[in-house]
């Protein structure tokens, strides 16, 4: 039997799929099990097909696989959408009495249980609780004590009063009992519990929490899937720390508001997805040219244009690296796990202020909606110290003025970083502009000053490249002939794929890169490997292009642009195929 269990609830949009799935995921986390969730969803409010999938194990899980063990199917389509992942030990729970399900014929090769979800829910106090009845039914199927659902139900329904909570607990028990009594069946699942207590959160929440921890006080954004969750997390929480969230009229306004707050001295942020990044491109140049610290979160989704708005893709790398007219350097940081998204968000704010420049902080749709368990230590901030860079106060400002007492916000320095005054500072008054400017911020077209300022801005990045740590995360066998390189959220799937490959006798060295710019120099690693495979979720291999450019070597590419995130088993097969074709020895 597999160590992990793959479970899902699926139905139509509006069926309460998400919240039901999350209750189960939370219950598992409280029972000391690791959880990795994924979602199938569409850009619609009602109807269609949507599913919340949970992979759980006592060992850490960090990817999805092509196998579904237990499925709650509220609609017939839920079964057909997942048919290829169901196997002979799979159990499908459905309600044969639900309208539309009366003529449903479950696939013959698996176990299908028809549970009168609505009837049992009504018995507990209301039809609305039918999904909770289904969760109760699942606990019996997977050998998971129904009591573990209680805390998650309290968390979900506590605000609605004790009666609602009691009713839901009862609904769960009715579901559990129904399966135990009505089906004389030995289910092949028996979920172990442990004494561990994990936290469960997704990438957007990690970014939001990281922003608050970093001292972000102002967030402006415009609703867009899948970045809205960052704004929704912050609204209602950032205020407790003296901050504010503003829903702007569009992304053009959002980035300009964040820019204004940053000019006023606040740690500021905006967040969006592809189409919003396009709109922000013009102001992005202004942020860089005026040397303003700003963090821009880009939660990538499938493009171009409206693309597949609820599907996975890492297609914006070139846009983030090169987007905008003229030549603008910028940091591009791409956390590789949900916990890293927290840590790297804090780093992003430090980088923005230390080098007075915009920072793209990017995750992708898969990570944004994936809820994953971690030990709470992954989010420990007891040693947190923020670095705001060279902010000058009134006592020291004279040192940075010219002979006429004017502050020099773009002072040409050895490391390229200039002093910064915040409004309110006497002696620090200055103008910032998108025009090319001299040290004082006054417009200029003087060729010498132009070159001096371009070089100064470029020098900031040379300084950052030397001063900061841009190393990749390294996994696997350092001496392996096959090198796998990836960026962003694919790390989990690759790590799990490596475990499959090890069983096949294939050793891998894996470098997971959280920094797109500045990025680590992979030349030595690529040259010492027989084969380098760059794995990414786009069609053209944007990161692979960078690796080839940096190392002057050709690499193999694994590209996934299906809109569905990498699955560990399928990815392992693809890597294995390349290794076989290359004739690489393990």
């Amino acid at each position: 039997m597999h160590e992990d269990l793959n479970w899902a609830i699926g139905g139509a949009a509006g069926d309460g799929i998400d919240s039901t799935g999350k209750i189960f995921a939370q219950a598992l986390a409280r029972a000391g099990r690791h959880v990795f969730t994924s979602k199938d969803f569409a850009s619609r409010i009602r109807g269609g097909y949507t599913a919340y999938k949970v992979r759980t194990s006592v060992a850490p899980v960090q990817s999805v696989v092509d196998r579904l063990d237990v499925l709650i199917a509220l609609t017939e389509r839920t079964v057909s959408e997942n048919r290829s992942e169901l196997h002979e030990d799979s159990v499908v729970i459905y309600d044969g009495e639900r309208p539309g399900m009366a003529n449903f014929e479950p696939p013959a090769h698996l176990t299908a249980l028809s549970v009168p979800l609505t009837d049992l829910a009504e018995e507990a106090g209301g039809a609305i609780m039918r999904n909770v009845v289904a969760l109760g039914a699942v606990t019996t199927v997977v050998g998971f004590p129904v009591e573990y659902l209680d805390e998650a139900l309290e968390k979900r329904f506590g605000e609605k009063g004790d009666q609602i909570v009691t009713n839901n607990k009862e609904a769960a028990r009715l579901g559990a009992e129904y399966v135990a009594e009505e089906f004389d069946h030995e289910f092949p699942y028996d979920l172990e519990t442990t004494d561990e207590d994990y936290v469960l959160l997704n990438g957007d929440e990690a970014i939001g929490m990281g922003a608050i921890a970093a001292g972000c006080k102002f967030y402006a954004g415009y609703p867009i899937t899948p970045a809205t969750n960052i704004m929704e997390y912050l609204a209602g929480r950032i205020e407790e720390f003296g901050g504010h969230v503003l829903q702007a009229e569009d992304e053009l306004a959002a980035i300009n508001m964040a820019l204004g707050a940053a000019r006023a001295g606040a740690r500021a942020m905006t967040g969006t997805s592809g189409p919003g990044i396009d709109l922000m491109a013009e102001t992005f140049g202004l942020v860089a040219q005026s040397e303003t610290p700003l963090v821009i979160a880009n939660v990538m989704r499938s493009g171009p244009s409206t693309g597949m708005p609820t599907k996975q893709e890492q297609g914006d790398l070139n846009m983030m690296l090169f987007g905008g007219h003229g030549e603008i350097r910028r940091f591009v940081i791409a956390p590789t796990t949900v916990a890293e998204a927290f840590e790297k968000t804090i780093l992003a704010f430090d980088m923005a202020e230390k080098y007075q420049t915009p920072v793209y902080l990017t995750i992708d749709l898969a990570m944004s909606v994936t809820e994953q368990t971690f030990t709470p230590e992954a989010f420990d901030v007891s040693d947190l110290e923020i670095d705001r860079g060279p902010i000058v106060d009134e006592a020291d400002v004279q040192e940075f003025q010219d002979e006429e007492g004017r502050f020099r916000p773009h002072m040409v320095t050895e490391d390229g970083v200039s002093p910064r005054t915040l409004p309110g500072t006497d002696g620090g008054v200055h103008m910032s502009t998108g025009l090319e400017h001299d040290e004082l911020g006054r417009r200029t077209e003087d060729p010498e000053i132009r070159v001096e300022q371009v070089d100064k801005r470029e020098r900031k990045f040379e300084t950052a490249r030397e001063r900061e740590d841009w190393s990749p995360r390294e996994f696997g066998d350092e001496d392996a002939d096959t090198l796998v390189v990836s960026w962003g959220s694919n790390e989990g799937a690759i790590l799990e794929a490596m475990a499959y490959l090890e069983d096949e006798g294939i050793d891998i060295r894996f470098l997971s890169v959280p920094y797109v710019y500045p990025r680590p120099d992979l030349t030595d690693a690529v040259e010492s490997a027989e084969t380098t495979i760059v794995v990414e979720a786009n069609a053209t291999g944007q990161f692979a292009d960078l690796v080839e450019h940096d190392t002057l070597s050709r690499v193999q590419r694994v590209n996934n642009y299906t809109g569905v995130q990498f699955k560990a088993d399928a990815l392992a097969a693809e890597i294995q195929e390349i290794v076989a074709a290359e004739g690489v020895r393990a």
């Binding site: 503003l246 508001m257 204004g260």
Partner: protein, 288 residues
């Protein structure tokens, strides 16, 4: 209010490149005087400007300032003010910047009611690009891009602000220095979004909306006129149906509460001296 600094403190040492006689000189002088007269200092003042002749105003003034991209000055001013409520924020731009490329922000700034002063230097033409029709140009106005006139109804910025829920709507004329300054002072002191549409003639490309034209057609709604700007119905009538070029405060909502007031934003967000507070460590608790 006592004058703590001379208005010349707000003047930078750069010489404006505006054409001699440009209305923008008077518009800017009025802003500087009004800021000084209302007790502000350059170090606590933030000027945001857009693109165009008007956008150069940040360069010629001495204050913390940002010269932004075309049409987005209002969002920048919004961010500045919300992040630090102690700053006096003045946003300045032209009719193209504010009513064309930035039109959406204008509507939302009016309804959001952030406490800032928005001065639109309205010359009814695009000056810096050498004379094309603007959203406030008269439909018959012949320009290089509209040789037979734009044949489009001009934007009525005062009506737009009123419809969007604007709480302070005024109009001034750059060459009437006394009234222009007075109106700006009232705008600065208003707790909310204050629009001052300032007729600021372009002497090079607009031979229709000239100093003489405004002098002839201007109707002042100052104290002597008996006009009450807090009377909404009167304001609606003047703004929508008046056929004169009005000068003065056309509408002021005395009950208006600014965005910062509504949201309880009172502290300077730039202060992170004691960061992080212990409570940051508790954020993870909700994810159990």
């Amino acid at each position: 209010m006592s004058t703590e600094v001379s208005f010349t403190e707000f003047k930078s040492d750069e010489d404006p490149t505006w054409c001699p006689g440009c209305g923008d000189f008077g518009t800017m002088n009025g802003i500087m005087r009004a800021l000084a007269n209302t007790g502000n200092q350059p170090k606590d003042t933030f000027v945001v400007a857009g693109i165009g002749c008007s956008g150069k105003i940040g360069t010629y003034m001495r204050a913390y300032a940002l010269h932004g991209v075309h049409g987005r000055a209002l969002p920048v001013g919004t961010g500045v003010k919300l992040a630090n409520p102690d700053l006096e924020v003045v946003v300045a731009g032209g009719d193209g910047d504010g009513y064309s490329i930035g039109g959406n922000h204008f509507i939302h700034a009016a309804r959001r009611n952030v406490d800032l002063t928005y001065v639109v230097m309205d010359n009814r033409i695009y000056g810096l690009t050498k004379g094309q029709a603007s959203p406030t140009s008269n439909p018959q106005f012949e320009s290089s891009t509209t040789p037979e006139g734009s044949k489009q109804a001009p934007v009525n910025p005062l009506a737009l602000a009123l419809a969007a829920g604007g709480s302070f709507i005024a109009q001034s004329f750059s060459s009437d220095a006394r009234r222009h300054t007075e109106i700006l002072e009232a705008a600065i002191e208003h707790d909310g979004f204050a629009l001052v549409n300032t007729f600021s003639p372009c002497v090079t490309f607009n031979d229709v909306d000239t100093y003489d034209y405004f002098k002839e057609h201007l109707v002042d709604l100052g104290e002597d006129s008996g006009y009450d700007p807090t009377d909404y119905d009167d304001a609606v009538e003047h703004i929508l149906e008046g056929d004169a070029e009005y000068q003065g405060v056309l509408y002021r909502d005395p009950e208006a509460r600014s965005y910062s007031e509504e949201h309880g934003l009172t502290t300077d967000m730039s202060d992170l001296d004691e960061w992080p507070p212990d409570e940051v460590g508790d954020l993870v608790q909700e994810f159990y």
